[in-house]
């Protein structure tokens, strides 16, 4: 299975077809450009702070003589660049401190574990893509031509990063890595078991009534029931949803105040119906299944 990127609401993109060795594809959310920039800035500030603190400490305490101080600082300046990123991503499985704080991490695009050579590759390229240009701009003292060239370079690198769907920078392409959001898992209760529904005749549905809707509508209803809108306008919108459904399936109009109960019962019945159909090979994607679109998978 090949990797695919599907846009979901707003900036977010979902990565599909990512297959671990077990052969069951799992989905990740690709980290947005903003989050990654944030993580990079955090790391950058953090490493700079370490160096500045070391310089201040050495100046203040005079613990070491001049030469030893210079040695220490220049080694520190070196260690806080590529080695910092490589070691932290190696030790924390694809996370630097900035990435930990922003909740993103590096994964290998082939579904295997993240290999050290991949980590080294993406971070060596980071030196050229981000750290070296940042140094040119921060330190100053370069000629105008150099600044223009660096600016063009940064534009090219950023353009590549923003233009590809998987949000890979050059280093990610070479290493074969992706940066994704740390998955968070919360198991919500099963709605079909949530309520003790009365077996009143009004809440039993005939198969014909359940043949109208498909998966999409069922899951939209699920979203409404999981977080029922509150307040006056919320009540109103629930009433409207219930009214639409009763009209579509030819159910008698509901007495006031029973809408939520009706929706729950309808959800359970509809889900049971669709799941049974699915088991026998008929997957109804949405309410247009009768017209031949989206009926079969």
């Amino acid at each position: 299975m090949t990797l695919q990127v599907v846009e979901i609401e707003g900036e977010k993109r979902r990565l599909e077809g990512f297959t671990p060795p077990e052969g069951v594809p799992i989905a990740f959310t690709i980290a947005t450009a903003g989050t990654r920039l944030g993580a990079q800035m955090l790391d950058f500030v953090l490493t700079l702070t370490v160096i500045v603190l070391a310089v201040i400490g050495l100046l203040y305490t005079r613990a070491l003589d001049f030469n030893a101080s210079v040695t220490l600082i220049s080694m520190l300046a070196l260690l806080t660049r590529v080695p910092y990123y490589v070691l932290s991503e190696l030790l924390w499985n694809g996370r630097t401190i900035g990435k930990r704080l922003t909740g993103i991490r590096v994964i290998s695009a082939d579904g295997r574990r993240l290999r050290p050579s991949q980590i080294v590759a993406r971070n060596m390229m980071k030196e050229a893509e981000f750290l070296a240009p940042a140094q040119v701009f921060l330190m100053g003292g370069e000629s105008g031509l150099m600044l223009v060239l660096t600016f063009l370079w940064v534009c090219g690198v950023a353009g590549f990063f923003l233009r590809n769907k998987r949000r890979q920078r050059l280093g990610d392409v070479i290493a074969g890595t992706l940066v994704v959001e740390q998955p968070r898992a919360v198991l919500l209760p099963d709605l079909s078991l949530a309520a003790d529904l009365p077996d009143s005749a009004g809440l039993i549905f005939a198969p014909a009534q359940l043949d109208i809707y498909g998966r999409h509508e069922l899951q939209a209803l699920e979203a409404i029931l999981r977080t029922p809108p509150t307040g006056e306008s919320g009540q109103e919108s629930i009433r409207r949803v219930a009214a639409t459904i009763t009209r579509k399936i030819g159910h008698e109009p509901l007495p006031l105040g029973q809408e939520l109960e009706f929706l729950r019962a309808f959800y359970t019945a509809q889900r049971a119906h669709l799941e049974r159909l699915r088991l026998y090979g008929t997957a109804r994607e949405n309410k247009f299944h009768a017209e031949g679109q989206g009926g079969k998978r």
């Binding site: 671990p20 077990e22 069951v24 799992i26 989905a27 990740f28 030469n67 030893a68 210079v70 040695t71 220049s74 080694m75 300046a77 070196l78 070691l87 190696l90 499985n93 991490r105 994964i107 295997r112 574990r113 993240l114 050290p116 050579s117 980590i119 080294v120 590759a121 060596m124 390229m125 030196e127 050229a128 893509e129 070296a132 050059l170 392409v173 070479i174 290493a175 074969g176 998955p183 968070r184 898992a185 198991l187 919500l188 099963d190 709605l191 079909s192 078991l193 003790d196 998966r215 069922l218 899951q219 699920e222 979203a223 359970t268 889900r271 049971a272 669709l274 799941e275 699915r278 088991l279």
Partner: protein, 340 residues
């Protein structure tokens, strides 16, 4: 675990499925959370074994749930639970020491032997650069000032007297070790940054790497020509050899790493460029790591030995001796026994 007071008889198959499997998922979740907090060390032997079993069960659940369940919350939960568990189960396992040993004993030499063409490109860039610099110097000495940034040559220009030039080759005999450490550290951080840059810009069709290496070679050629014009060629050759054999090899190898990337972009063959880059990436990065390692050695030699070893013959034999060691290591290490 929420199996306890379950409703008497769930009528949905998917709900029953969930009730049966949920304890396993909860168990996996606790194990994964523990491993996420404290690393894999937080799990003892039995836990780790249980992690593997429950992970496979959860993967299986996910596969089944996709077919039989339309409960989006359940699918989302299983998907992220499996993703989290995958991240814990398939984490890097190498120790840093083991990694380094394998890199030295096998990976780097093999990568070098697979990269003959890029290595030729790297050395050709360097040698052509040196020849150009050398010719330019004899053409017009002003090239020296035009091409070399002042910070690099200090006073060692064509206008300096021969006695001064000779002195620069043999200065610093009495320097104390403290100065030398600082000097070596500075050299290394400066050179390694250049090497990484030479490597990384190679992705744009290898040409930028080639040009940077060519430029480095040109500086070398100009310097050599300057000293040669004063009859100091043997002295400067020895002075350059002691660290230069290693340092210039590092630059050429970094260029070869860049060329590897560039060639993958220019000539991807049957694959997409993205795929070709990914395949070339592994070897290219090993070349870059090799370049940085060589620079560590070169900086130590340049920082310490060049000042303390003054005799030209000693300088020559140290420099070229080191070079021979590198060649032997890269040519012989990590060969598979028995052959295929």
């Amino acid at each position: 675990m929420s199996v306890g007071p379950a409703p008497t008889r769930p009528e949905l198959r998917s709900a029953r499925f969930r009730q049966e499997r949920e304890p396993g998922w909860r168990r996996l979740e606790t194990l994964v959370t523990r491993a996420e907090r404290g690393g894999p060390q937080a799990l003892d032997y039995d836990d780790a074994r249980e992690l593997a079993t429950t992970y496979r069960q959860a993967m299986n659940s996910l596969s089944v749930a996709r077919d039989i369940s339309l409960d989006r919350a359940l699918l989302a939960y299983l998907e992220s639970l499996c993703a989290r568990a995958w991240l814990v189960v398939y984490a890097p396992q190498e120790s840093l020491g083991g990694l380094f040993t394998r890199l030295i004993s096998k990976d780097i030499p093999q990568a070098v032997r697979r990269s003959a063409v890029p290595l030729v490109i790297g050395y050709v860039a360097l040698i052509l650069g040196a020849l150009t610099g050398w010719t330019l110097f004899y053409d017009d000495q002003d090239w020296f000032y035009r091409l070399i940034p002042p910070s690099l040559f200090d006073l060692r220009g064509p206008d300096a007297p021969t006695s001064y030039l000779r002195q620069t080759l043999y200065e610093g005999a009495g320097t104390i070790a403290d100065d030398l450490t600082a000097f070596a550290a500075f050299l290394f951080s400066h050179n390694s940054r250049i090497a990484i840059l030479v490597f990384a810009v190679g992705i744009f069709g290898a040409l930028p790497s080639f040009l940077l290496t060519f430029y480095n070679g040109m500086i070398l050629g100009l310097f050599f020509a300057l000293f040669q014009s004063r009859g100091l060629e043997f002295d400067v050759f020895a002075w350059l050899s002691i660290h230069g054999v290693t340092e210039l090899a590092a630059i050429a190898i970094a260029c070869a790493g860049g060329a590897r990337l560039g060639l993958a972009v220019l000539l991807p063959g049957e694959q997409t460029r993205r795929e070709a880059l990914r395949q070339a990436g592994g070897d290219a990065v090993k070349l870059a790591v090799l370049a940085v390692l060589l620079l560590v050695v070169a900086a130590l030699v340049e920082g310490f030995l060049r000042q303390t070893v003054q005799a030209p013959w000693a300088r020559l034999s140290i420099g070229w001796g080191l070079g021979a060691v590198w060649v032997l290591w890269l040519a012989l290490a990590g060969r598979e026994r028995g052959g295929r």
